[in-house]
């Protein structure tokens, strides 16, 4: 095991300082406790809890998961017991994990977000709040909040009014121009951005001739989306100056470093935990190895360094195709 103490691996998310930049992502690591038998949770920067909503939700019917090349589709549908039950039964337990706990809030109206955020943020066990605005908004005909800069701003503003705790807005990659959404979230008061949630996708069972997921469509995660997520981080980092929790297909230290060099202050690990629950710890070790080799003592000195030299991505000549 590498000697961590010689390095400054801390990552700042608003007023919250994580000892390590590695975050286990919402919906992928339970409350952390589920993984305690297999890993040393004290070597994790933070766990983001599964998103909670105002009212209890059974979630979608199964299948909720389909494995795809280098990734998976999921359509859990935000199964959760609702904020009341959650505060009463769950939150205290969650706080027993030896790493920071970040709450995640989802909703179907601006009000929902404000209500749940206020209640959750009032709890001392919760170090920061992530706003999962990248799930479908039934009130707006299937459009998610994070697909519209104005809706994004309204949710963030409403949540901001309820708490001083660090607020993270979680953005969707399913947009034409993520930089605009990012600017909108920051202007409305987000302290940090999680970039990005899953990419919309689907799979069809050719023998049953119907969609494989109970919910028809789902969110694609895992290594397959890494290049997409990385570009999103790169573009957001040029648009705003708040910390970014880079995520989407990170499985190794090398993956994590790509995100850090692109502008992420911290990195999230979701799907890779299903391949190996030790993934976040392996990533931490690998980052330290890289820093040793590259003679860098503070992780933050690496953030965004692949970014320099290009003032604006649109000014770069040439094009795809």
């Amino acid at each position: 095991m590498v000697e961590l103490s010689k390095f400054d691996l801390s990552a700042r998310i608003g007023s919250l300082v994580l000892p390590y930049p590695t975050v286990a992502l919402s919906g992928c690591y339970g409350s952390g406790a589920e993984f305690a038998p297999y890993v040393d949770l004290s070597r994790l920067g933070a766990v983001v809890l599964k998103s909670v909503t105002r009212r209890p939700r059974m979630g979608n019917s199964t299948p909720r998961i389909v494995h795809t090349p280098a990734g998976m589709l999921n359509a859990i549908g935000l199964q959760n017991p609702g904020i009341e039950w959650y505060l009463q039964h769950d939150v205290a337990k969650f706080a027993q994990t030896p790493c920071a706990t970040i709450g995640s809030v989802a909703g179907f109206s601006v009000d929902d977000y404000a209500y749940v955020c206020e209640r959750l943020a009032a709890r001392s066990e919760i170090a920061a709040i992530e706003l999962n605005i990248s799930c479908p908004n039934v009130a707006h005909e299937g459009e998610t909040f994070a697909c519209d800069p104005e809706l994004t701003a309204r949710v963030v503003r409403a949540a901001r009014a309820t708490t001083d705790k660090p607020l993270i807005a979680k953005l969707s990659p399913n947009v034409t121009d993520i930089a605009t959404i990012a600017r909108s979230a920051v202007a409305a008061g987000a302290d940090a951005l999680a970039v990005v949630n899953t990419v919309r996708g689907m799979a069809i069972d050719i023998y049953q001739r119907k969609p494989r997921l109970g919910n028809v469509t789902g969110g694609l995660s895992g290594a397959a989306i890494r290049p997409i997520a990385l570009l999103a981080v790169y573009e957001v980092a040029r648009a705003v100056s708040v910390p970014i929790v880079g995520q989407g297909g990170i499985a190794t230290a090398s993956d994590a470093l790509e995100f850090i060099l692109a502008g992420a202050s911290a990195v999230g690990v979701g799907t890779a935990n299903f391949a190996d629950p030790r993934a976040p710890m392996g990533i931490l070790d690998g980052i330290v190895e890289y820093m040793t080799q590259q003679n860098v003592r503070r992780l933050r000195d690496l953030v965004g360094t692949a970014n320099t030299g290009f003032a604006n991505i649109n000014q770069i000549e040439g094009d795809e195709g």
């Binding site: 992928c28 993984f35 297999y38 209890p56 859990i76």
Partner: protein, 294 residues
């Protein structure tokens, strides 16, 4: 001439009483193993023996393992623990998609990390006299340990085993050698009964209890069969897994709220439904047929 318990209700009570034991979460761990042996028991069916002495001690019938694929790029594969004796556990699996193919590419001497043992397992304590085990396809991998446990307790164990064709009835002889009575079925009639295994089940004398593992349509038929006859049935379900350890809620099945296996969950405001979603990987994979609402 039905042969199930003279008093199915009292049998059911004994069986339920033992639930807390069966449901106690196993102390699972991340177990590094080494592959001891590998054989292709039929075309595209692999049997991997691994060295895992500590795991053997903790495995109970019906437990499963998450096999972590080397490289860590694809989700682990949920596999029943087929055998567990001495220093060796084994996994029996079909080469279905990309992940099982990667697993199948491992060779003797390679390392393989398992998260195991997982799940609740079959409750063999109350079901001791006359049990029908129904296995479909790869479901066979999850029923050898239960069969052995039941036989050890002196039960009559009939294995109703169905597959597409004769060559897919892998390991049938192994079960016979252990002392099971074999009742085989194939879709194409190439061996045993020509039809699905649940038809064969319905044609034979009923048992006191049914254990089943196989594809969902088979499990549904077993469930209907058992409930019609008021026979307790334990079904080991298969769902697509994410984490396998309770962290993602990807693997749920609707069960009655009153089930001892129901996770605590507030009543839904909307419909006051008495159904909740339980995780196949933690609360299951074995569920009582009468408690499922699928």
């Amino acid at each position: 001439m039905r042969r199930f318990s003279d008093n199915p209700e009292s049998f059911f009570k004994i069986w339920r009483k033992s639930l807390p034991v069966a449901l106690a979460s196993p102390i699972s761990a991340l177990v590094p193993t080494r592959i001891l042996d590998r054989s292709e028991v039929a075309r595209d069916v692999i049997l991997l023996g691994v060295e895992a002495p500590e795991l053997v001690k903790r495995v109970r019938p019906g437990h499963f393992a998450m096999a972590l694929l080397p490289g860590g790029q694809a989700a682990g594969v949920a596999l029943g623990i087929y055998e567990a004796r001495g220093e060796r556990c084994s996994l029996l699996f079909f080469l279905a998609g990309d992940r099982t193919r990667r697993l199948g590419a491992l060779r003797v001497g390679d390392r393989l990390d398992l998260v195991a043992p997982l799940g609740n397992g079959f409750d063999c304590e109350g079901a001791e006299r006359d049990v029908a085990i129904v296995a479909g396809g790869v479901g066979i991998a999850s029923v050898l340990l239960p069969a052995q446990a039941l036989l050890a307790r002196g039960a009559r164990v009939r294995l109703f085993y169905g597959a597409r064709t004769a060559e897919r009835l892998v390991e049938a002889e192994r079960f016979a050698a252990e002392g099971c009575e074999l009742l085989l079925a194939t879709d194409d009639g190439s061996r045993g009964y020509n039809g699905v295994v649940t038809e064969l089940l319905a044609r034979e004398d009923a048992a006191e209890a049914v254990f089943a593992c196989g594809p969902t349509p088979m499990l549904r038929a077993v469930s209907a069969y058992a409930q019609e006859r008021n026979i307790p049935a334990q079904l080991s379900l298969e769902e697509a897994f994410g984490c396998g350890v309770g962290g993602c809620w990807g693997c749920v099945v609707p069960i009655v709220r009153t089930s001892a296996q129901a996770p605590s969950f507030p009543p839904s405001d909307a419909d006051g439904s008495d159904v909740v979603h339980a995780r196949v990987c933690v609360e299951g994979p074995v569920f009582r047929a009468r408690e499922l609402r699928w």
